[in-house]
């Protein structure tokens, strides 16, 4: 069984290294501040014992008050998993740091979120629409699209 790590346990480790970057720690997930996402992600990937070498899925959700991007992380080495989240509150110009330099899995998935939800990922090497054509106006998966 893949062991789902608790966000609270991981928080203790992260807070020592990067104080104040965790916004909310729940049993199933870990919410970090957007600006700290890159550092925390790199820490989760490269720390021995955590070794989150496999980014399973990246999903974006529009909660109207904010956008949430959910990273399902897995370690193939240790067979455990973690749900990492980040939010952006700016509806006009939502942006988060890209994790493509850590996990290339994120390449198409971040483009998909950019395309359908309009969140831009700073540092993405090729951020453009993926499912819809370039001239399309709006982002269909936003709750206020229709």
């Amino acid at each position: 069984m893949t062991l789902a790590l608790s966000g609270k346990d991981i928080t203790k480790k992260i807070e020592k290294k990067f104080p104040g970057c965790v916004a909310e720690a729940a049993a199933e997930s870990l919410l970090v501040k957007g600006e700290a996402l890159s550092e925390v992600a790199a820490y989760l990937k490269n720390t021995p014992g955590l070794d989150f070498d496999y980014l399973t899925a990246v999903s974006g959700v529009d909660y109207l008050d904010y956008f949430e991007v959910v990273y399902h992380l897995t370690s193939i080495k240790h067979n455990h998993s973690l749900v990492l989240k980040a939010r952006c509150y700016n509806r006009e110009n939502p942006a988060l740091p890209s994790v493509v330099s850590l996990w290339r899995t994120a390449d198409f998935q971040e483009r998909e979120i950019y395309d359908l939800l309009g969140i831009s990922f700073t540092g993405h090497p090729n951020l453009k629409r993926i499912a819809l054509w370039d001239g399309f106006e709006g982002h269909p998966l936003r709750k206020d699209f229709l």
Binding site: T2, L55, G60, F108, R129
Partner: protein
């Protein structure tokens, strides 16, 4: 006599070729924007989205049960697995239990579907290699047998809509189990027949061995899954790593490749078919009686929250991320489509190979555009 030598300077410059979107080898509508230097691929950019139907948006306006037929239309060569992955996610979200018999039925159906899908994958891969139409027709003949079995249980041959939240839509008819037993008895002979013709076929070895190598570390970093990941030497199978349904009760092996080339991906798929037959034999033997569906209300209202349900589909890890706001329709429905993510590796696998190899490398991923574009 003096000889004169004259230096001839040939300047080549890279040029761009659009391969697709409509091309017989692209398995759907898919465009590869290749930068070529002569015949050698310098770079390749995949362009897709031609089949985008907005399934994720459509799902937000349907009830949880009404979403099941939409999942059929994702990976239409493995609809049963899509149905199952979605039902697993909803069951996780709403905390719904599944009766014992339904769990066995799901395993039997899912493994039959894996064989059917791998038959297509292997057949069309050989087609791409140049063994035009003969192997694929044999494999479609066997796939047809499985489709007949599915026809028997749900009356459909492609988009089944068979799984339900909390079980399956109906029980097996009486003639089903004998028919499956007959199929399981005959299939190994057919697999041996293909193997005799193809395993050490010189043309196949020359065209596929060592071509389109995906190294182990890159495969993990790129998030590859399914046969593509396992051919690169990572024994990662969700059925073993994170057993869902009742997969922890069955004995089976996870075939892995060593080189991570096109030939290994082909071999892994053939071996997986044998393992699926092994699971089927055990499941049919142990199939218990009882209900096939638990009591689930027509309009499912899962508590507000989120769940990620995943399974090992024929093409890799198929996952559904669902967010509920407590209403009758999912607030967010996101598909982690395996071939969509496996495509990330395509440009790395193709770089440095010739145009003729591009078709084989692309075929070896076993792509389904319905799932990529959604």
């Amino acid at each position: 006599m003096t000889t004169q030598t004259r230096e001839v300077v040939v300047n080549t410059e890279p040029f761009v070729v659009n391969f697709g979107p409509a091309h017989p080898s692209t398995h759907g509508v898919f465009r590869m924007r290749m930068t070529l230097d002569g015949e050698v691929i310098v770079d390749m950019e995949p362009v897709f989205g031609y089949l985008h139907r907005g399934i994720e948006k459509l799902a937000e306006e349907r009830t949880y049960t009404q979403v099941i037929p939409l999942t059929d239309r994702l990976d239409y060569l493995a609809s049963m697995n899509n149905n199952l992955a979605y039902c697993l996610a909803v069951e996780k979200l709403a905390g719904i239990a599944v009766p014992e018999r339904a769990e066995y039925i799901r395993v039997i159906i899912a493994e039959l579907q894996r064989i059917a899908s791998h038959l297509c994958a292997v057949g069309f891969f050989l087609n791409d290699c140049g063994a035009f139409m003969t192997p694929v027709l044999y494999m479609l003949r066997e796939r047809e047998r499985i489709l007949d079995l599915f026809d028997m249980v749900c009356g459909q041959r492609l988009t089944y809509n068979y799984m339900r939240v909390g079980g399956v839509s109906q029980d097996f008819p009486d003639e089903f189990i004998p028919a499956v037993a007959k199929f399981i008895g005959e299939m190994p002979g057919w697999l041996d027949e293909y193997e005799r013709l193809l395993k050490e076929n010189e043309i196949l070895l020359a065209r596929a061995k060592g071509v389109g190598i995906l190294p182990r570390d890159l495969a993990i970093n790129i998030g590859a899954s399914g046969p593509v990941l396992r051919a690169s030497g990572v024994p990662w199978d969700i059925r073993k790593a994170d057993p869902y349904s009742i997969y922890d009760r069955f004995e089976f092996d996870v075939p892995v490749g060593l080189a991570g080339d096109c030939y290994d991906r082909y071999r892994v798929r053939v071996e997986e078919m044998r393992q699926s037959l092994r699971i089927l034999r055990q499941a049919i033997k142990d199939l218990p009686g009882g209900e096939v569906r638990s009591q689930v209300p027509h309009l499912i209202r899962p508590p507000a929250g989120e769940a990620y349900g995943h399974l090992e589909g024929p093409r890799g890890e198929l996952g559904f991320y669902l967010v509920s706001d407590g209403s009758i329709a999912p607030y967010r429905f996101h598909v982690r489509a395996p071939t969509f993510i496996n495509l990330t590796a395509l440009s790395d696998m193709m770089r440095g190979w010739k145009v003729a190899d591009a078709i084989i490398v692309f075929g070896s991923i076993d792509i389904c555009m319905g799932e990529v574009d959604r």
